[in-house]
């Protein structure tokens, strides 16, 4: 079914309609962890996009070579190689960003968006649609991270674009009232959960106006490990309640 859609549709679906963070609820860890400022959010988003596009291309090229039984380990190797490359590039050219992202940069390997797209799309589709799908999802991820980062940075530290060395020596533009009275809680951990919750509520409201279903935690359907997972039969794991309502 996916092949019949035009490439444009493959790209745009990742931006809004199937936004990986706000609609599919994937990749929540980096969404919460690196969005204390817009610049680190963009850095994370672009790094993940690069990995996503490259790994989608390679996995799609190899889709007939990889035996289905060992596909998950094979995907992980491909993804981990690209993450290593991105890690080296960031370390070499953007050391500040590397310090900010810290352990979350290598953790792109276990970002469920990337493995999820490999499993759901790139493993079944041709190279060009897979690349476009990866790009769309990556840009969608970046947009969602930017929204989080914008809210958290503005309210939490009262600046805009801090960390970009060309603006004010890296301290960013100060926002008049907020920079004197920053609400520190927004850059701390609780603020991350809170802003994400509210953003999700807004996304749900917009989705309802458009007649789309609410975002639910796709714990089982989208999880790349779903096939080998037996929790589903034993307990109703992830999203029973959320689907019902």
């Amino acid at each position: 079914m996916a092949e019949k859609k035009s490439l444009g549709k493959e790209f745009t679906k990742g931006l809004i309609k199937e936004n990986p963070v706000l609609r599919l609820v994937l990749g929540t860890c980096p969404t919460l962890a690196v969005t204390t400022s817009v610049s680190s959010a963009v850095g994370m988003g672009l790094s993940a996009t690069a990995v996503l596009v490259c790994s989608n291309i390679v996995i799609s090229l190899l889709r007939k070579v990889i035996p289905p039984k060992v596909r998950i380990p094979a995907y992980i190797v491909v993804i981990a190689s690209f993450v290593t490359i991105v890690q080296m590039v960031v370390k070499a050219f953007l050391p500040d960003l590397n310090d900010k992202l810290g352990v979350y940069l290598p953790l792109i390997v276990v970002n469920c968006i990337i493995l999820g797209r490999a499993e759901a799309f790139a493993g079944k589709n041709k190279v060009l649609p897979s690349a476009v799908d990866g790009l769309g999802m990556g840009v969608g991820f970046t947009i969602a991270l930017c929204c989080m980062g914008l809210v958290r940075e503005t309210l939490g530290s009262g600046t805009f674009l801090s960390g970009v060395s060309s603006i004010n020596n890296g301290s960013g533009l100060a926002i008049p009232f907020l920079s004197q009275h920053p609400m520190l809680i927004f850059v701390l951990a609780p603020g991350g959960f809170f802003v994400f919750g509210l953003l999700m509520a807004c996304a749900n409201k917009l989705a309802e106006e458009k007649g789309l279903p609410k975002a639910v935690l796709h714990g089982c359907e989208n999880c790349p490990m779903a096939k080998s997972c037996t929790i589903k039969e034993k307990e109703n794991c992830a999203s029973g309640e959320e689907v019902a309502k």
């Binding site: 929540t28 860890c29 080296m88 810290g102 390997v109 991350g192 639910v216 309502k245």
Partner: protein, 204 residues
């Protein structure tokens, strides 16, 4: 600071102040996904503690080997593969030899392979506890994983309790489902902010 005191301080830090879920945002997927029932939450976290401990025990010597060969840049790819293979092996062995334990923990094991909390603790141990192969550092790394695992369990169990109270609550329409869960997580995380500074003062 004596070594045992240092270990204790690492242990408490990773349970309370640097809680993996609530302040480091590692392992959010199981936190939101499997915390609906208390027994599932406990089973999942017990499996996480177990996998964290064995992964650290195995990857720490491997990193020394990589350093010796000058291949540190391969750490990400090597660690994820080692963890994945290890979890599979443990699952098979457990199924064969300890079926009762397999019934309790086994079902969660495949899920944990691609869990960022496990890879996170392994990478963090390498970053913070240095690479030198001496036994003292290995001890620190193991205590750190145990603390991180127990902190994971604490957050999961607490949050399972919070969620069971949410079930019957009257929630505004657009906050229903995931948004209210995240806001509840935010409040749980806020309570852990109260521990800030605790470890420094306790072990000063």
């Amino acid at each position: 600071m004596s070594y045992s005191k240092e270990l204790l301080s690492i242990f408490v830090t990773y349970i309370l102040t640097q809680n993996f879920i609530l302040s480091k945002f590692l392992g959010i997927c199981p936190f939101l996904g499997v915390s609906k029932k208390l027994n599932t939450a406990v089973g999942m976290s017990a499996a996480v503690i177990f996998v964290m401990m064995i992964s650290t025990a195995v990857t720490y010597p491997i990193f020394n080997l990589l350093t010796a060969m000058g291949l540190e840049y391969l750490e990400t790819i090597v660690f994820i593969l080692v963890i994945a293979a290890l979890v599979q092996l443990v699952e098979i062995a457990m199924k064969k030899y300890i079926p009762s334990l397999y019934n309790a923990l086994g079902i969660y094991l495949p899920l944990i392979t691609t869990n960022c909390a496990v890879l996170g603790v392994v990478l963090l141990n390498i970053d913070t506890n240095g690479y030198s192969g001496d036994l003292a550092n290995f001890g620190r790394a193991m205590v750190c994983s145990l603390g991180a695992g127990l902190g994971f369990m604490l957050a999961m169990v607490m949050f399972a309790g919070v969620r069971s109270r949410l079930e019957g609550a009257d929630i505004p329409k657009f906050l229903k489902g995931l948004p209210i869960t995240l806001i509840a997580a935010s409040l749980t995380s806020l309570s852990f902010l109260g521990f800030a500074g605790l470890v420094e003062n306790m072990f000063a």
